[in-house]
């Protein structure tokens, strides 16, 4: 089933979905395996798995370090693909790949789509591939029926939002504020106005990320967005308190 339909169905049951983010190979694939199991068990609706890259330009310090450490520990693209195959087999929720374009470019766009389809991956988030540079990529996404998730930012104009909505599929990832991943976001009137603009620009579900780390943040997004994205917060949590803290944290986000 295409990702968008999948999500709409889930949204009928819950009024906000949870998407989490993990960096593959950080701190190890063994830990990734346990974290994902805990996330799924506690009701996470979809998971973006980041294939590490040496130059993660749009990420903040926590995720940058996770990328570096994963690579230093020897994580390869092939390892990430094998691990993804295992996860999609084991868990019924949708899994996405998040990575930078060079990883896909080096693998070969066609080959990467083919492989992802085989693995049962349902979507891609590639933060450094705007529609202007990704003609072939976004065409392949349609051909393979894998969602190509595009990004809105508070600086995105209405015209641009419309263009992105026409190219993107699955859902739109709304960056809640300017900046990189992992810093706190102040959810205030400008954010509310921005989310209203996003809603107006597209019929696709809206995911909101960047700085979401508490039940309060998730509650705030109810009614304004469809998916809350929790990224850096769980990485930090595993770093400081270990895998066993993940379950209760995730369960607590929707109360």
């Amino acid at each position: 089933m295409p990702l968008g339909n999948n999500l709409r169905q889930a949204m009928v049951q819950k009024n906000i979905l949870l998407m989490t983010h993990i960096v593959l190979g950080y701190p190890s694939f063994a830990v990734n395996r346990q974290v994902i199991a805990a996330m799924v068990k506690n009701g996470v609706d979809l998971i973006e798995m980041q294939i590490p890259f040496s130059e993660p330009m749009a990420d903040g310090p926590v995720i940058v370090k996770a990328n570096q450490d994963a690579l230093a520990a020897g994580a390869t693209v092939a390892d990430c693909l094998d691990f993804a195959a295992e996860m999609t087999k084991k868990h019924a929720i949708p899994f996405l790949f998040m990575t930078y374009y060079n990883i896909i470019f080096k693998y070969g766009e066609d080959a990467f789509f083919k492989k992802a389809k085989e693995l049962g991956i349902q979507g891609f988030i590639v933060p450094d591939l705007p529609p202007e540079e990704g003609e072939n990529f976004y065409r392949l996404a349609k051909e393979y029926d894998i969602a190509a998730i595009l990004i809105y930012a508070p600086t995105t104009t209405e015209t641009r939002m419309a263009k992105l909505a026409a190219t993107g599929t699955g859902f739109i990832y709304c960056v809640a504020r300017l900046g990189v991943t992992g810093q706190a976001t102040k959810f205030d009137q400008p954010v509310e106005d921005y989310l209203a603009r996003c809603r107006k620009a597209t019929n696709l579900p809206l995911a909101v990320g960047f700085g979401i780390s508490s039940k309060g943040d998730v509650d705030y997004l109810r009614g304004k967005a469809d998916i809350a994205v929790v990224g850096t917060a769980t990485i930090k949590l595993v770093d400081s308190e270990g895998v066993q803290a993940v379950g209760p944290f995730i369960a607590g986000l929707r109360g």
């Binding site: 890259f53 040496s54 130059e55 993660p56 330009m57 749009a58 903040g60 310090p61 940058v64 370090k65 570096q68 690579l71 390869t76 693209v77 930078y100 374009y101 060079n102 990883i103 470019f105 080096k106 693998y107 933060p127 450094d128 591939l129 705007p130 202007e132 540079e133 595009l150 990004i151 809105y152 930012a153 508070p154 600086t155 995105t156 104009t157 641009r160 992105l164 960056v175 300017l178 900046g179 990189v180």
Partner: protein, 421 residues
């Protein structure tokens, strides 16, 4: 006819592509600011007043036109081509970097932004940006790899004295490419107020083309000067290539001429050692997309960037200007490399014979010119682009020469500071 710097625009295709290379692989959050930058740049490029203002400020603030020096002693020594040196070292702050920062500074004034950020490797671009920010009354933050901060304290000292904030970058290999990533992270957080003064002809469109345009002033001057001083065009022009801005600068003056253009990359410990930064002169690089543009990168088969090495921090970089990659692919520019050891020899010879002190980066171009000059005829001329001066990098060069009395001086000075004197 007044010259707008537009007589030989690099070949350009769709959306900032030079042949297969370039583009703008940028996060969505920067889309708007790039639209604005492209518009301001395009308007400036059409505007003769802009180029006039640029030339005036470079003449009154940065000693332009820089001279073309006939290196008579080196020419006699090699008994081949007549050697000319384009003296970009005589710019304010000691390198060609001034051309780019002043040009971008004028664009910042047009955009009305109040803050600039920049990356720096060895520190030259950081210092140049800090002077521009001081002159134009802009706030300034410089990102510099933690390793480079430790190696280049004198440049950090000057940046701070000029009023800039220097932020040591602790991610990745803690060098130039990581400073670029960090500058982009700042930019996505502060797009409304801030312009990123990228230091070389790399990065997303319009940076490669725009930086090359500001640097084209080198080639325009050099062409006119060689015609006056030598009576005709040179046979070959040599430039070192890190990101590629000084090379693009001088090459553009001779693009349409029957002049061979030679780019010299950092051979480090030798191409076979794997410890170098030769993207186009070695077989080790492959096409990739990083830091917002497509070019030949030193990377592994997964697309992870590799560590590079050079005695010259300014050449120690994984990527190269997409414009140069295109010219390399089309056979218009020949690429060679010079090892760390050859660079020190050429530097030593140039100092002894001509009383000129090239930067370690620039000395790479001298190496290749010295190799080829003896095989050329005495009726021919060659030009070496001396992108920067070496005397202000005394710590780095003295260290590279492993000079014992310099080391003793530092030890004594350190002991005196430690004793509170």
């Amino acid at each position: 006819m007044e010259f707008y710097g537009d007589h030989m625009p690099p070949v350009q295709q769709k959306n900032g592509y030079f042949g297969n290379w370039g583009g703008a692989f940028i996060p969505e959050v920067l889309h708007q600011t790039f639209c604005e930058l492209r518009a301001v740049y395009a308007a400036a490029r059409q505007d003769p007043d802009f180029w006039h203002e640029y030339k005036t400020i470079m003449a009154t603030y940065s000693c332009r036109p820089t001279p073309l020096t006939h290196a008579a002693n080196l020419s006699a020594l090699f008994a081949g081509a007549r050697i000319f040196i384009k003296r970009e070292d005589l710019n304010h702050t000691g390198a060609h970097k001034a051309n780019n920062v002043m040009g971008q500074g004028l664009l910042v004034k047009r955009m009305g932004k109040k803050r600039v950020i920049a990356e720096t490797g060895a520190g030259q671009h950081g210092v140049a940006t800090a002077t521009m920010a001081a002159k134009f009354g802009l706030a300034c933050t410089i990102y510099m790899g933690e390793k480079d901060v430790a190696r280049q304290r004198p440049n950090v000292f000057w940046m701070e004295k000029l009023g800039a904030t220097v932020v040591p970058v602790t991610t990745g290999s803690r060098s130039l490419k990581d400073a670029i990533n960090e500058a982009f992270r700042d930019w996505v957080s502060n797009v409304d107020t801030t312009h990123y003064v990228l230091g070389t002809a790399c990065g997303p469109h319009p940076f490669p083309e725009m930086v090359a345009w500001f640097q084209s002033i080198i080639g325009q001057e050099a062409r006119a000067q060689i015609l006056t001083q030598f009576g005709r065009l040179p046979s070959r022009v040599y430039a070192c290539v890190g990101g590629g801005s000084n090379a693009m600068g001088i090459f553009q003056g001779f693009m349409e001429d029957d002049v061979e253009l030679v780019g010299v990359e950092a051979g480090g410990h030798g191409l076979a050692s794997g410890r170098h930064a030769a993207r186009l002169a070695s077989q080790d690089a492959s096409p990739g997309v990083a830091q917002g543009y497509k070019t030949m990168f030193l990377q592994n088969s997964d697309g992870q960037m590799q560590d590079t090495h050079s005695v010259a921090a300014g050449l120690d970089y994984v990527g190269v200007s997409p414009i140069l990659t295109d010219l390399w692919e089309k056979g218009r520019v020949r690429f060679e490399s010079a090892t760390d050891a050859e660079v020190l020899e050429a530097l030593d010879l140039t100092m002894k014979k001509e009383g000129i002190i090239p930067a370690l980066e620039s000395a790479h171009a001298f190496v290749q010119a010295f190799k080829e000059a003896p095989g050329m005829s005495t009726d021919e001329a060659l030009i070496i682009n001396m992108s920067g001066r070496g005397d202000k990098d005394i710590f780095t060069i003295a260290h590279a020469f492993n000079d014992p009395s310099w080391k003793q001086f530092i030890i004594d000075k350190g002991a005196a500071y430690a004793a509170g004197k």
